[in-house]
């Protein structure tokens, strides 16, 4: 790399030049900084900074992972949290300083690797360099005795090296003939592919973030949803996604099944769905954990499940009974104990608003009046209900969770507890004003998530290229071998000096010893057969064309 290239302009021993122009100075400064940024040691520092920068993202709760945990952290550390928040420590991976580190790293990478690519491209088209003057100074070298003459000895070496896929060049110099050979160009290519694929990977990731979106929704068996932002319980979208860009896809949930091992470990979750354009009949498909629906551009995942208990509410004013149901969120995935709320603001003109705070146990046992769940399967479904009447506060403009009653309304006295009971299937809780709530059954719901990430296949492609480049870079060896014959001191033969230079792979010595042995063998195999070939019989090409 051009890491430690000396600042040539400054070193020139010319007479003190006139003060360089401002533009010139700015340029020099820029060149100096650019060199510093693209130096290898900067890369090491930046890699370290990247590793350090990622650490708070794993130690502090992150908004991208769990809003709830961040909210809890704010509640637990009311003075510290806002300060951390100012430093983006709850959004580390989308923070400007994290971006600064990786952008600098990638600029450094491009600035480092592109010149190297150009150099590599030039090297591909130029023959291996001339042999150094003293081959014995190379890390590995040997002298081989042979009875062959110069040219024939070099022929043998050339042949042996070509079999080993070296590019070979022979030159005629003032000091006599010599041979240079090189192999392992793919190592350099691997380096380039690896580093440039990292850039491609980053770009693909960024593209996916800009044009991707994700929405999730709870769907009760028999229900469905269509792909539009209004229909999702939560969604997030990249800045370049427009509301009407979403692909026209509707999904209906026909059936959900959960299966368990004997020890109640969940063994499989599957959902039978139909999917298609709006208004279409739809194609049936079963999706499950590890097995999403993949359509062109979109994927639909089954990310969770739970129970939605059903109730019938009969008011004392003689209105027809009302069937209601609401999804309860599992609070314990191994017993599927779930919590949720039913809110009924419009029961009738002169009825107070009604709210049920509930606990659902698919297999319930009551001990000391407390309902708990002991099995995730719906063997003995029961609910514990607390009923409130009064004013729910739904139209105050304050957002409320669908799964809980606003405690503020209770504290303020707007909602009052009017009854509670543990109900098995078919049992009824009757409130003091005569309102009757019957637990009539349950549905299962599935949490479905629709994701759209146009960058994803590109990320995969780039990742594969990263791996291929890495293997090429780490496993291949770049190796140069030089040979130069000199007349043997006693006459009647040649001493062939062979030297080699290796980059990467280590253990050059052993491999060179092996090569030297094989050359020796090849030379002696050839020598007795043809003591001295007629002069001029083999004219050594100054440069053997390379394939």
């Amino acid at each position: 790399m051009t890491v430690t290239a000396p600042p040539r302009e400054a070193a020139a021993p010319s007479p003190p030049p006139a003060r360089p122009s401002a533009g010139r100075r700015a340029w020099n400064l820029w060149v100096r900084w650019w060199r510093r940024l693209t130096a290898m040691r900067t890369a090491i520092i930046l890699l370290f900074l990247l590793a350090l920068a990622a650490i708070p993202g794993s130690l502090l709760p992150q908004r991208s992972l769990s809003q709830t945990n961040v909210a809890r952290y704010f509640a637990d550390h009311p003075t510290l949290a806002p300060v951390l928040d100012r430093l983006y420590l709850f959004d580390v991976f989308s923070s400007p300083w994290f971006a600064a580190v990786y952008l600098l790293l990638f600029i450094s990478l491009v600035g480092c690797v592109l010149p190297r690519a150009a150099e590599h491209f030039r090297a591909l088209r130029t023959p291996p360099p001339p042999a150094p003057r003293n081959l014995l100074r190379l890390p590995d070298s040997a002298g081989l005795q042979t009875r062959l003459d110069d040219a024939a000895a070099l022929d043998v070496v050339e042949e042996e090296l070509r079999v080993r896929r070296f590019r070979v060049v022979r030159r005629q110099t003032a000091a006599g003939p010599e041979l240079s050979a090189e192999k392992g160009y793919l190592k350099e290519a691997g380096n380039l592919v690896f580093h440039l694929s990292l850039v491609a990977l980053l770009l693909a990731l960024a593209g996916g973030k800009l044009w991707g979106y994700e929405g999730s929704v709870l769907v009760v068996e028999g229900g469905g949803f269509c792909n539009s932002f209004q229909n999702y319980d939560t969604y997030s979208a990249g800045p370049l996604v427009e509301g009407n860009d979403l692909s026209p896809l509707c999904v209906d949930l026909e059936d959900f099944q959960a299966e368990y091992e004997e020890n109640l470990t969940a063994s499989s979750f599957t959902a039978d769905i139909r999917y298609g354009g709006p208004g279409e009949e739809g194609t049936p498909q079963t999706i499950g954990v590890n097995d999403p629906l993949r359509t062109e551009g979109d994927r639909v995942y089954l990310t969770g499940h739970g129970y939605a208990p059903r109730f019938t509410v009969t008011t004392p004013d003689g209105q027809p009974p009302l069937d209601v149901s609401a999804p309860f969120l599992p609070t314990n995935p191994s017993t599927m104990a779930s919590e949720g709320a039913v809110k009924l603001p419009d029961l009738g003109a002169d009825q107070p608003q009604l709210a049920l705070q509930g606990f659902f146990a698919p297999t319930g046992v009551v001990q000391g009046g407390i309902l708990t769940s002991i099995d995730p399967r719906p063997l003995e479904p029961q609910v514990a209900l607390i009923a409130y009447q009064g004013y729910l506060g739904l139209d105050t403009g304050r957002p409320q969770s669908v799964y809980a009653i606003d405690q503020e309304q209770i504290a303020r006295g707007a909602l009052n507890e009017v009854g509670s009971a543990n109900l098995a299937l078919g049992e009824t809780l009757t409130l003091p004003d005569g309102t009757a709530i019957t637990f009539t059954g349950y549905d299962e719901f599935a949490a479905l998530q629709l994701s759209h990430d146009p960058g994803q296949v590109w990320v995969l492609g780039a990742a594969i290229a990263v791996l291929v480049g890495l293997l090429g870079m780490l496993l291949l060896r770049r190796e140069r071998v030089f040979a130069r014959p000199t007349a043997a001191p006693g006459g009647g033969g040649t001493v062939l000096t062979v030297g080699s230079l290796t980059r990467g792979g280590g253990e050059g010595g052993e491999r060179f010893a092996g090569l030297a042995d094989e050359l020796r063998a090849a030379l002696s195999a050839r020598a007795p057969a043809r003591p001295t070939p007629p002069a001029g019989g083999v004219s050594p090409d100054p440069e053997v064309p390379t394939p």
Partner: protein, 321 residues
């Protein structure tokens, strides 16, 4: 699916046997080091200090007296026997539960240690001089096994639904391989740093020749071992991370989400990339690079222990009390 308790108990028994064999191997490795001939060390000192003719084969086992060699061979045999029973632990776990035996932290950590032992054994069979590192590899192995048995043990049981996927199998298998290899690499770098410090002390006269550290292979050989294992481990780790992302895409709906485990896998990857760079950068080569490698090992261990047991990401394995 039921768990075959006989096989599960056999697996647990083999765990104790392998800890015992490893402990004996440590004793034998110790004996090999302790009874190494002093004159050899003295000669080396002269050779190094006076830059006389370079020792012909500084790595060759030729200089060792037969008794010491026998201790070395006994240690290797014990190590290999230990590794075989250790493999049996996982084999019978797998047969008992009818699945790949790395479904929880106990099994994962056990497999990582096995990979470390096998990597070391392969290297030490091929280069006898590396046997002198045996104590320093096998003693941490014994400690790790005891800690795993005490703190991570989990009963044999089936896998939760999310873990039943072939990409997960690929991901976890390669993660174990990468981790085990990095483990050997990290220990080699630790030994390299200790040896360098010791040599420096000897040079300035604050320490004497003749300590156990002098019987280690030459610093350059240890450093080369560290680098070569890291070069071997890095693509495997890269592949493990990619396989994990492919699996996460089908299981969690996104291929990368900065879950704590993912974050630390990334941090480790970046640190090892920094190590490989440092090895080829003037000014970092040697000591600086070795420190980066040690940091890498720290990150891997942190990722295994802290992130699995303390943080609450999607990865946290169940079954650790």
């Amino acid at each position: 699916m039921t768990v075959d308790t006989t096989l599960a108990e056999l697996s647990d028994a083999l765990f104790s046997v392998s800890v015992g064999l490893y402990s004996l191997a440590v004793v034998a490795f110790c004996a090999q080091l302790a009874f190494g001939r002093r004159p050899a060390a003295a000669r080396e000192l002269v050779g190094a200090g006076a830059a006389a003719e370079p020792p012909a084969a500084p790595e060759g086992p030729a200089a060792e007296p037969p008794a010491v060699r026998r201790y070395g061979i006994a240690a290797m045999v014990l190590t290999v026997l230990g590794a075989l029973t250790h493999a049996g632990v996982l084999l019978f776990r797998g047969l008992a539960t009818d699945r790949l035996p790395w479904g929880n932290m106990y099994e994962f950590a056990t497999a990582v240690v096995l990979v470390a032992v096998v990597s070391f054994a392969v290297l030490a069979v091929r280069r006898p001089v590396l046997r002198h590192l045996g104590v320093f590899v096998m003693a941490p192995v014994v400690l790790a096994m005891v800690a795993i048995g005490l703190f991570l043990y989990a009963e044999a049981g089936p896998l939760v639904a999310a873990l039943r996927s072939s990409w997960l199998a690929v991901h976890v298998t390669t993660a174990i391989l990468g981790f085990g290899i990095f483990f050997v690499s990290g220990i080699a770098s630790v030994m390299y740093l200790l040896r360098l410090r010791h040599d420096a002390r000897v040079a300035e006269g604050t320490a004497e020749r003749g300590s156990l550290l002098d019987r280690l292979p030459a610093p350059a050989a240890i450093d080369r071992l560290a680098h070569r294992t890291a070069v071997f481990g890095f693509p495997i780790w890269t592949f493990a991370v990619i396989a994990g992302a492919i699996w996460a895409e089908s299981a969690w709906g996104r291929f990368w989400g900065w879950d704590p485990k993912e974050t630390w896998a990334f941090i480790a990857w970046v640190v090892y990339a920094a190590y490989l760079h440092a090895r080829t950068t003037a000014g970092w080569r040697g000591k600086g690079a070795a420190w980066v490698n040690v940091v890498g090992l720290g990150v891997m261990v942190f990722n295994l222990l802290y992130v699995n047991m303390v943080s609450t990401g999607l990865h946290s394995y169940a079954g650790v009390e």
